[in-house]
């Protein structure tokens, strides 16, 4: 066995655990101090501890879509202002979509870490802010330029030499709709990176910088070795997949193709998405670094799901993203829904590599957040309300198990639905149906998970916006497993004014109107004729499929 001789394995392992746990402490600080549920309950955040060369030393298992792109923020700052810009006691902020890659709501706060005048690293946190001053509260479905989407910052100093930049913080406060919780979340993020700073300083003081660097190299070497071993098992060759978004939310008739080409050579793997669509007028664009993150998530899900991420991760991986495409947006492309094609891309990585990693992949998932946003005045209390909900759906099956039903999509972390009792108490809606949608998962030897039906009856006049995706290409099956049924939203089902629609900004809804949202299922895996009759009958008993589907899809009668 090859081990580094310059440092003993016990010290390496103690330092490895200390770095990972420093990141955990940062995450715990952020979650403990955050004001808004999207951070403290949904965990829509991520933290990282970096070394002085912007390599990841430790990272919490935060929102996957933010994986490994906090270092791009410190790097971009250094490239713009020079290495000498880093000063002890400074804290920086950035949310620029074309640097951070995401929409403006995702804000990164970071700072340098010094020990005795020496720059030893950086700490960084990113979290979703509920509002950054976009033209509509909480974000729009129909923005066509970044300038409609809110305040664009950075890189910019929030704290200089330990002193808060009051003017900057006031400017942020006056540009967002909910200044109190927003500045609260900002302070929580500052507390988080300061916790990371203390932890990294403690580690440097305890072990010495030289030992820390030796341990770091050994930790990175171990991670790289483990990842390379998995890639080496993938036969050399080209693996590709093509996916499509329904539209950009503005031009509803034009689909947006996303094309992925993976080339494996030995222990190296390259991801190329340059053939994807040009950037769009509507808000489905993202910056390059976010496309890289999505590809890394797809890679990590298949190659190293259980390894804590660090600077040794992704060393065997390269990416090609084209500037000016939907995955490499340039100013002033709108980026509010930056993640719809990223969720698709993550599913596509599994589809492309399915021939080589048949036991690790899964059929596609329902795929997007499936948003219903409503706003108006609640007549019961005479107060305005805004409600933003994601809808859960089905996930793909894999070799050995059916896919899960009614699960949040991959870019939304551990988001929970809003309980009906909370919803009806807070908002003037009645939820008349919330059930698992039978037959929506793709059939297969292993069946795709089902979506849900959630039906709302308006108790007053209000406005409703919708963002439901993946209807042109519902979740696909693998190895003979069938495709799932896609999403469907029906306004006033069965009434003369019945209307089907998936994306809209500000639809006027009247008291008594019904909005029935149905999310899609996940793809199946394997030939449905190989599914055992017992499993099919159990599915009928458990209402996962109807008796008709049992006959039609599996040839199993009662």
């Amino acid at each position: 066995m090859t081990t580094s001789t310059a440092i003993d394995p016990v010290t390496v392992e103690i330092i490895r655990n200390a770095l990972n746990s420093a990141a955990d402490d940062m995450n715990a600080t952020l979650i403990r101090s955050a004001y808004t549920p999207i951070i403290y309950e949904c965990g829509d955040c991520v933290v990282a501890l970096l070394d002085a060369d912007h390599q990841v030393l430790g990272q919490s298992a935060g929102l996957p879509i933010f994986l490994g792109n906090l270092e791009t923020c410190t790097l971009a700052t250094e490239q713009r202002f020079g290495r000498e810009v880093w000063r002890p006691g400074d804290v920086w902020i950035l949310n620029d979509s074309y640097l951070g890659g995401t929409h403006l709501n995702d804000v990164t706060i970071f700072g340098p870490v010094f020990v005795d005048e020496t720059l030893v690293g950086f700490t960084a946190s990113r979290a979703h802010w509920i509002d950054v001053g976009s033209k509509d509260p909480g974000g729009s479905m129909d923005s066509i330029s970044i300038f409609q989407e809110g305040l664009r910052l950075g890189p910019q100093k929030l704290i200089s030499g330990g002193v808060e930049e009051r003017a900057v913080i006031d400017t942020i406060g006056t540009n967002v709709r909910f200044p109190y919780p927003t500045t609260g979340d900002m302070h929580a993020m500052m507390a988080c990176i300061q916790m990371g700073e203390r932890r990294l300083q403690e580690i440097v003081r305890r072990f010495g910088l030289e030992t820390l660097e030796l341990a770091r190299d050994e930790i990175f070497r171990q991670t790289e070795l483990l990842e390379r071993a998995v890639i080496a098992k993938i036969p050399d060759g080209v693996y590709s997949a093509e996916g499509v978004l329904d539209n950009d939310g503005i031009d509803l008739d034009t689909p947006i193709p996303i094309r992925l080409r993976i080339t494996v050579a030995g222990e190296h793997i390259d991801f190329d998405v340059t053939e994807s669509a040009d950037q769009t007028v509507g808000p489905v664009n993202c910056g390059v670094s976010q496309a890289v993150s999505a590809l890394r998530v797809g890679y990590k899900l298949l190659v190293s799901p259980d390894l804590p991420g660090n600077g040794g991760s992704f060393r065997s991986m390269t990416t090609q993203v084209r500037e000016g495409s939907v995955l490499g947006a340039r100013s002033p492309a709108a980026c509010q829904w930056y993640f719809s094609h990223l969720g698709l891309l993550i599913d596509m990585v599994a589809r492309a590599l399915a021939p080589a990693l048949s036991d690790r992949v899964a059929g596609a998932s329902h795929g997007d957040s499936m948003i219903i946003l409503s706003a108006g005045t609640d007549p019961r209390v005479g107060r305005d309300f805004v409600s933003l909900e994601a809808t859960v759906g089905g996930w793909g099956a894999w070799n050995g198990s059916d896919g899960e039903s009614a699960l949040i999509n991959n870019v939304n972390g551990s988001l929970k639905d809003i309980p009906i009792e909370v919803h009806e108490t807070r908002y003037p809606w009645r939820i008349t149906q919330y059930r698992i949608r039978p037959d929506s998962g793709g059939s297969g030897r292993w069946r795709g998970g089902n979506g849900v039906v959630r039906e709302y009856e308006a108790q007053t006049d209000m406005s409703v916006s919708l963002w439901f995706e993946r209807s042109r290409q519902p979740a696909w099956g693998l190895f003979g497993g069938e495709d799932a049924v896609g999403p469907e939203v029906v306004i006033n089902p069965g009434r003369p004014d019945e209307r089907r629609i998936l994306k809209i900004n500000g639809l006027a809804v009247r008291k008594g109107d019904v909005v029935r949202c149905a999310s899609g299922g996940g793809g199946g895996y394997g030939d449905p004729t190989e599914r055992s009759a017992d499993d099919v009958r159990a599915d009928v008993l458990d209402h996962n499929i109807t008796a008709q589907a049992a006959r039609a899809r599996y040839g199993i009668g009662d």
Partner: protein, 681 residues
């Protein structure tokens, strides 16, 4: 009056029994084997070991794992679930989160009721409690027939907004009993958990229905057998909240006892905090396969209003126990040229290599044995002899891969395990907003005291306390508790809309109900008390904090609103690091806890040493890479006033305490070992 107060803590392998002799004022601890097939047997034999005549018992409490085991092994009774028609899938949708984010193969926690056994029942209550659609009584009767035909042992009923208006749930239960007789278990959600959030409340009712009949049967059997042997006092049962209740009440509300097992340790920590004047404690309970951390903050155990078991939620008061994947059984292994310890455990079978049950991988217990930190003949009260040779062989295999000596590897395994446990404790304290340095560490469980001082060193904690009977600390804690019954009432009002007189009237009613219930528990009037609290949040926040009130009539105080807002802001600052006094706040839930004081044992003064000397031997134990002459003393030989320097090992029946070279030990006046750094003395 009887002579003894007795507590029993039923663990997976052993039942710990602690008795307090009210005549002599002394405690005694013993162990009996747990009898998994029939837990009553183990309880009775444990009792026989310490008390001649059950009639001599004045007070008897036990923590049962009967319901928990049924849950964990999925041996509960088949449950039929009735939900509100149209939304009856709530239980299986389970709010839809993913808790492992890098998992393409994610499945939700397996629900206790399959979907085929969920029925939607017509009838709807609105958010304000008014009836929108009447209950479909025929559908309930049909459900009863289905339950009979399919052999469901229990029925859970969970309708929307039952916490605002329980009429449909109550009527459904009436019909089910009419159809199925009074013996069938019907658990209704607003009784299992009178709070909003339908998934969590439904899950609470389902867990109660699933485990309830088993807990009931067990308690009834045990009560009968104890009565048959002459026990004259009611049997008491530990609750997840840290309080106790009579077995009779526990049979009515079995959910409250589900997580009672590990709670005793936290209650014991609170009592130790009281007796020794240390407000903040971090309790570590380390066994063969588990490592549990509990916090005492300002003298109180850390309690929350929601618990999860294998991912399934329950709304009930529960003492927070943080389980960390570590323990004596954690396996050391190599990956890509790196050393790893855990999270995989060798468990009880095959267990560590030194158990001689076929395990070949080195574990933390093997490493401790190789270093001489465990007495091979005194493990688990001498009930087991450990094989040092097998341990050394296992550790040596790994040492060779890294080109290290066996002892260096053994110490490395312990160092890595200690650093991981310390980091886990640190993250728990950070989440709670506590600085570990401001607490003392209390070590219990068989393996806790072996690692505690190393953890204290990593965390910068000045004092480590090893109480008497560290292996039976939980049972000791159970002797210190009071009867507790919790009452909750949803109460949604923004501060600007609050009717303070109505709030006071609600609390007064809850206090009356609570005190009346204590009468059932056999608590006399002057020993009853009640405390009140209200859950508050900032308007539009999801999560609440429980803010204590001075009494049921506090809302009538003219300063009530500013004063409660200040209290909430203080708690918020303490818990979350910030607050916003003046922002609108929202009241969510009223809480009343009724307490019945059953008396508690006096702290037992431990005898003073008659001389500075005590018997010990010197053995070689490895610390910092070298074999050191180490004092090995018996706990029973140490008395108040004895002090000695590490390196040292203190052996007793239920645990081993390891003291590294730069630490010193003293014995306090209740017999605890107190271990501090030498240079701090």
């Amino acid at each position: 009056m009887g002579r003894y107060r007795v507590a029993m803590d039923i663990g997976g392998t052993f039942t710990d029994v602690v008795t307090y002799d009210q005549q002599s004022g002394t405690f005694a601890a013993t162990k009996a084997s747990t009898t998994p097939g029939n837990l009553s047997e183990g309880v009775l034999s444990g009792l026989d070991a310490v008390v001649d005549e059950p009639s001599g018992i004045d007070f008897l409490v036990h923590g049962t794992t009967q319901g928990l085991n049924a849950f964990l092994e999925r041996r509960g009774v088949p449950v039929l679930l009735l939900g509100t028609a149209g939304v009856e899938d709530t239980y299986h949708i389970a709010r839809g989160p993913r808790t492992r984010l890098y998992d393409l193969h994610y499945r939700k926690p397996t629900p206790l009721v399959p979907r085929r056994d969920v029925l939607g029942i017509g009838g709807r209550i609105a958010a304000d409690g008014t009836e929108l659609t009447p209950l479909d009584e025929d559908a309930v009767r049909e459900a009863a027939r289905r339950a009979r035909a399919d052999g469901h042992g229990a029925i859970a009923v969970a309708f929307l907004f039952s916490y605002r208006n329980p009429a449909h749930e109550l009527r459904a239960r009436e019909i089910l009993h009419e159809e199925l007789g009074d013996d069938v278990t019907v658990s209704i959600s607003h009784e299992a958990a009178k709070e909003w959030r339908e998934y969590e409340r439904t899950s609470s009712a389902v867990v109660e229905a699933y485990t309830g009949p088993i807990v009931r049967r067990y308690l009834l059997d045990l009560e009968n057998r104890l009565a048959g042997r002459g026990l004259r006092v009611p049997l008491h049962v530990m609750q997840s909240s840290g309080g106790i209740l009579t077995a009779e009440s526990a049979r009515r509300r079995p959910l409250q006892t589900l997580l009672s097992g590990p709670v005793g340790g936290a209650i014991a920590g609170a009592e130790l905090s009281r007796q020794t004047g240390r407000p903040n404690l971090i309790g570590i309970d380390m066994g063969g396969t588990s490592f549990d951390v509990s916090l005492i903050v300002d003298g109180e155990p850390d309690v929350s209003a929601e618990a999860q078991l294998e991912g399934l939620p329950m709304l009930m008061s529960v003492v927070n126990i943080h389980t960390v994947g570590a323990g004596g059984g954690s396996v050391a292994w190599a990956e890509a040229g790196g050393l790893r310890v855990g999270p995989r455990s060798a468990g009880a079978r095959p267990g560590p290599a030194c158990y001689g049950r076929g395990g070949t991988e080195p574990t933390v217990t093997d490493a401790n044995l190789v270093l001489g930190r465990i007495d091979p003949d005194g493990f688990a009260g001498g009930q087991m002899t450990l094989d040092t040779g097998l341990a050394a062989t296992a550790v040596d295999g790994l040492a060779e891969m890294f080109g290290m000596t066996t002892t260096a590897m053994a110490e490395g395994i312990c160092d890595v395990a200690n650093s991981k446990m310390a980091q886990a404790i640190r993250t728990i304290t950070v989440s709670r907003g506590i600085e570990p340095r401001d607490s003392a560490l209390v070590a219990f469980g068989g393996a806790g005291p072996m690692h505690a001082v190393f953890l204290a060193r990593e965390l910068g904690i000045a004092e480590t306390v090893v109480p008497r009977f560290p292996g039976a600390f939980s049972a000791w804690g159970m002797l210190q508790t009071q009867i507790r019954q919790d009452w909750t009432e949803p109460y949604f009002f923004l501060d600007q809309d609050l009717d303070v007189a109505d709030m006071a009237a609600q609390l007064a009613r809850m206090e009356r109900d609570g005190l009346a219930a204590l009468e059932h528990e056999g608590v006399s009037g002057n020993r009853r008390s009640a405390s009140h609290a209200v859950d508050i949040r900032y308007a539009a926040q999801e999560y609440t904090l429980t803010v204590p009130l001075t009494g049921a009539d506090e809302p009538n105080d003219p300063d009530f609103l500013p004063s409660v807002a200040q209290r909430f802001a203080d708690l918020h600052k303490n818990r979350y690091g910030h607050a916003n006094l003046g922002a609108p706040i929202e009241f969510v839930t009223l809480r009343t806890a009724a307490f019945g004081d059953l008396g508690r044992p006096e702290p037992q003064k431990w005898p003073a040493a008659t001389s500075a000397d005590f018997p010990y031997e010197i053995r070689t134990v490895v610390f910092d890479g070298t074999g050191r002459d180490t004092i090995v003393a018996r706990r029973d030989d140490l008395f108040v006033g004895h002090t000695f320097d590490g390196p040292a090992v203190v052996i007793e029946d239920t645990a081993t305490t390891v003291v590294p070279p730069d630490y010193a030990v003293s014995v306090d006046d209740i017999g605890s070992l107190v271990i501090r750094r030498k240079d701090s003395l």
